[in-house]
């Protein structure tokens, strides 16, 4: 069945929980305003179960209720993995056979972002979730530039290392920093290198929308919970084509 609704305690009940703050002083009208918003979000009936004044002129609300929306699972848009998940051994074998040299990967956190744990999880031998990172792959040559790398430095290093792929991590998202930095990065690569010579551009981080790759000018986006094997498998798929 492709149509589903949220489930509270009975199939089809459509129940959801919502919380938010409105910049209004707490009174009956404020509660009515909260219900109005919940109604606009599709909660009908909307049960206002909690209202708490916070500081001056703000009220926090918790609302429960039934949403009228239907979810059509057939119409869901996701970036499905469209390549086979390979073992480290197979990745190495494919590179050896098809590329005949080590595949060069350059990684960095760009801009002012200093969150390296994510990119390190992908690159460092230690890896994550029981999987070893890309450094562990014999046929990958990994350069991990660390944090707060500027875009020109990154482009320079990619050139110097003859990078086949550039892996960029962005964790801070306030004021869309991650989107701005990614756009600056892809623009710089487009400017610095002709289309055919450009490395594969990959960004990752917990708050990216994986559907935005084209919009940001990257080849692929990896989100929350990515593992190194997925990235390695994608690299050989995207750079070396079909594995047969």
């Amino acid at each position: 069945m492709s149509i589903v609704r949220p489930y509270g305690d009975t199939t089809g009940d459509g129940m959801v929980q919502v919380s938010f703050t409105l910049p209004v002083t707490h009174d009956k009208r404020a509660e009515g305003a909260a219900i109005q918003l919940a109604n606009k979000m599709g909660l009908d009936p909307a049960m206002l179960v909690h209202a708490k004044p916070m500081g001056e002129g703000f009220t926090f609300f918790v609302v429960y209720g039934r949403v009228t929306h239907l979810v059509d699972t057939e119409k869901v848009q996701v970036v499905e993995r469209d390549y086979p998940l390979l073992s480290a051994k197979d990745v190495n074998a494919v590179i050896k056979r098809k590329l005949r040299r080590r595949l060069s990967v350059v990684g960095a956190c760009i801009g002012t972002d200093a969150h390296t744990v994510g990119i390190d999880a992908i690159l460092n031998v230690k890896g994550i979730a029981g999987e070893k990172g890309l450094e562990y792959y014999r046929e990958l040559a990994v350069t991990n530039m660390g944090a707060q790398v500027s875009v020109p430095e990154l482009v320079e290093t990619a050139r110097a290392q003859k990078a086949d792929a550039v892996l960029v991590s962005q964790v801070v998202t306030q004021r869309d920093a991650h989107l701005q930095n990614t756009r600056a990065m892809t623009a710089a690569f487009r400017e610095a290198m002709p289309a055919g010579k450009r490395p594969l551009l990959i960004v990752g981080g917990p708050r990216f929308d994986e559907l935005m790759a084209a919009e940001l000018g990257v080849d692929r986006i990896f989100g929350r919970g990515t593992t190194p094997r997925e990235v390695a498998s994608y690299l050989v798929h995207a750079l070396l084509g079909d594995q047969k």
Binding site: G8, D9, V49, H50, K52, V62
Partner: protein, 519 residues
């Protein structure tokens, strides 16, 4: 390990007072019967099913006997005498005939007939009790085969969809998610029905009807899940209400493992007549004792209507009374899930330490009882974030004070009966606390003479004082005065009083005889 340094003399005095206060109530219970006690006997003796309006044949039969000879002799002799007289050997068939007005009932005048009827009744009742015994053995066998709950406290989760066929998968999911005990909440109206509905049911409000068939279906489903999980998952339902004795009999026959059974809950929170309740309660507990069922008492409820600090000692008094009545009915300590709750207003200074003091007092007063530890409900609000926090601290008190049965608190307590996700969040909460702080009790040693010890001593002292007053005035007066949960319930009011009868000199009840070891 003793942590409160309670004075054994004071503890002994409290128990002695409880026994003294309880004795007249026991006397009352021993000298009366009720329609439900008699129906329970007939259920054990084999009456099954209901008429086309859904009225169980046991009700029709007891009503018919009562109309003819009253309840004072018990229904067993009139019924089995009629069987002999009418030449019917299926007691359900007799009930059907009686309902059609085709049978009259009486106590045989002839000694031989009387003896024969008693003997036949005893034989029939014993068939039912044998089923109960077999179930008990079966439970012990399955626990051995599947394994028991991996740790104390047992994690207790409720299902309450109103539909037994939605309840079953939810209960199984809850068991898979870690529940050791599943409680099927009863529909809001049921406890005031003076009959037990029949068959599988799909329409309850905020709970599912307790019927023998629903018991059977759920137990079978959980047996399957127990096997799959390699641990025996216990099933709970409610005895309380106008049909306490019958619920107990059905629970015994369908291998339920625990039953909510409080000596006063029905009186206080369902306005059931006190005498009716005390009579029903004693019989039902005798059946639970035989069935190896753990009872859960309802002191937690007092703290939803009364203040949890002011009324803390009423919980202690009620626990002592429940213990006395339970022992008197043959229950052993391991069967006493005495209730209490985390219901202190979280705004009260030292609220958490007060909770610890109260919970530890219960633990040390009843060292061999499992204790049923209830989560915050009264001070839960629609602030579900705060709710989950309070539940976490409730879980911590449970772990620190060695509670036996942990009712899992839900962040949506003040909002809805639990959603699937609420249960998952709640279990995650329990697991975090037990996993991270389950052994913290080793490091928790209330300072000698400190706040916690002082508070525990104070509550025990107040309990002793209250018991003294109760001994002086009688339990029935105390209940009438609103001592428990601020609910005032006079002995001559409340529902179901008309279903009570004083024993005649020849009162006969084969089940009571068997349970009391009489012949």
């Amino acid at each position: 390990m003793e942590k409160l340094g309670l004075d054994p003399g004071v503890v002994a005095r409290a128990r002695a007072l409880a026994a003294e206060a309880g004795a007249p109530v026991v006397e009352l219970a021993r000298s009366h019967t009720t329609v439900s006690v008699e129906r329970a006997v007939l259920r054990l003796a084999g009456v099954r099913g209901a008429d086309s309006d859904g009225i169980p044949w046991v009700n029709r039969l007891v009503d018919a006997v009562r109309a003819d000879v009253g309840l004072g002799h018990g229904v067993s002799v009139p019924v089995f005498a009629a069987m002999a007289r009418e030449g019917i050997d299926d007691v359900t068939v007799l009930a059907q005939k009686a309902a059609a007005g085709a049978v009259t009932f009486g106590v045989p005048a002839k000694k031989v007939e009387l003896v024969a009827a008693r003997r036949a009744a005893t034989r029939a009742a014993n068939v039912g009790l044998k089923v109960v015994d077999r179930r008990r053995v079966e439970r012990e066998r399955l626990i051995k085969r599947f394994g028991d709950a991996p740790r104390r406290p047992w994690i207790y989760l409720i299902v309450a969809t109103g539909d037994i066929y939605e309840d079953i998968p939810q209960a199984q999911a809850a068991a898979r998610a870690g529940a050791d005990v599943i409680a099927v909440i009863r529909s809001t109206g049921q406890s005031l029905l003076d009959y037990v509905p029949e068959g599988a049911t799909r329409e309850g409000f905020a709970g599912t009807y307790a019927t023998q068939e629903n018991f059977r279906l759920m137990r079978a489903a959980l047996d399957e899940t127990s096997k799959e999980l390699g641990r025996y998952v216990r099933l709970t339902n409610y005895a309380s209400g106008l049909c306490m004795p019958e619920m107990a009999a059905m629970a015994g026959m369908e291998r339920l493992d625990m039953m909510l059974n409080d000596s006063m809950y029905g009186i206080l929170f369902r306005d059931i007549n006190p005498i009716r309740t005390f009579v029903d309660q004693r019989f039902s507990r005798q059946v639970h004792a035989r069935a190896g069922i753990i009872i859960n008492t309802g002191e937690d409820n007092y703290l939803t209507t009364a203040d949890a600090v002011e009324a803390a000692h009423t919980v202690t008094v009620s626990q002592l009374m429940n213990e006395f009545f339970a022992h008197e009915a043959g229950l052993e300590d391991w069967q006493l899930g005495l209730g209490h709750a985390f219901e202190i207003n979280p705004e009260v200074p030292e609220s958490f330490r007060l909770e610890l003091a109260h919970a530890l007092l219960a633990r040390e007063l009843f060292p061999d009882a499992p204790l049923k530890w209830m989560p915050p409900t009264k001070h839960m609000t629609g602030d579900v974030f705060r709710g989950n926090l309070l539940d976490g601290f409730f879980n911590l008190v449970g772990a620190l004070t060695g509670q036996g049965i942990l009712l899992v608190g839900m962040m949506t307590e003040a909002v809805v009966t639990p959603w699937l996700s609420d249960r998952d969040i709640a279990l995650q909460n329990v697991r975090y606390v037990l996993n991270g702080a389950g052994n913290l009790h080793e490091d928790f040693v209330p300072a000698p003479g400190g706040f916690i010890q002082r508070r525990a001593h104070e509550v025990l002292g107040e309990a002793v004082e209250l018991l003294e007053r109760i001994v002086a005035d009688s339990m029935l007066t105390a209940i009438a005065d609103g001592t428990f949960g601020i609910m005032k319930r006079p002995a001559d009011r409340g529902k179901g009083l008309d279903g009570v009868a004083r024993h005649d000199g020849d009162y006969f009840n084969p089940v009571t005889n068997a349970l009391e070891g009489l012949r």
